[in-house]
Point group: C2
Chain length 133, copies 2
DNA sequence: ACTGACGTTTACGTTAACGTAAACTTGGAA
DNA sequence: TTCCAAGTTTACGTTAACGTAAACGTCAGT
């Protein structure tokens, strides 16, 4: 038997509320099995949740996250399906690449700025030291 | 004389509405000069707007974007100010680094998946070719 | 003088992403 | 059996980030 999770298991692990997880289900991002009324999450469900949350951290809306994540569950039976899938993967990949560029320049800007600050700091400290003599 | 921009100049360039730009001003992200009632944006204002929009693309709220961007306009007169600034820069830098990790794994996942899809595709195509004989 | 095109303020409306509360069920510990 | 913690549905509330509309000012072109 594969391990399963309750909704509060996942809520605790990912630091969100059960409400949030149910909301993702309402939006079609998750589709856990049921045991009676209770939701039962498999390892695959858990992975999907992790993907959703990562998507959110990267600035995607739930709808955008869904579009991407659903590609990982797309049918691959026919040649046509696979070709269409590869198209869409390329498209999403380009979006991620754009974000990477944004992120790299943000980080580079900050690093250069911090470096100038450090230089200015040692300079100021040298001045104070000189004035103290 | 330095070049300036009207609100619709910037709106066009960055593909947002004037309303959005005014909203950023309401939220304290921009503070353009005025000529009478009219807002006059300098190159520095334009840069700040670009930073705001990049922040949004990276998943920051306006408040978070503001916190980061304001660091670039922080006073650096005293040693204490510079040290505090460097602290905060480090903190924000760590957040960006987290996003980078997220982004890298998202891209790597997708690349590996796409690769498996391509393999499966050539495999399927080989099967079809064999069946056609 | 008149008319757009562009700007302004004010204020209510909208959408996404949940929060919160109420009322109910249900499986296990005491 | 009773009770409680954890689950469920339903539905209204909230916040951020703007959209949209009204009512008005201003200034270059005819």
């Amino acid at each position: 038997m594969e391990r399963t999770y309750s909704i509060s298991d996942l809520a605790r692990e990912f630091d969100v509320t059960p409400r949030t997880i149910r909301h993702y289900e309402d939006e079609g991002l998750l589709a856990p099995a049921r045991s009676g009324q209770q939701r039962i999450y498999t390892a695959r469900d858990r992975t999907r949740l992790a993907l959703v949350l990562r998507g959110k951290r990267l600035g995607f809306s739930l709808a955008e996250a869904r579009e991407i994540i659903d590609l990982y569950a797309a049918p691959q039976g026919e040649v046509g399906q696979l070709e269409a899938l590869l198209e869409k993967l390329d498209e999403k990949r380009a979006i991620l690449e754009d974000k990477r560029r944004d992120l790299e320049s943000a980080i580079n800007n900050m690093d250069r700025y911090a470096e100038r600050c450090r230089e200015r700091l040692t300079e100021l400290q040298a001045m104070e030291k000189a004035a103290a003599e």
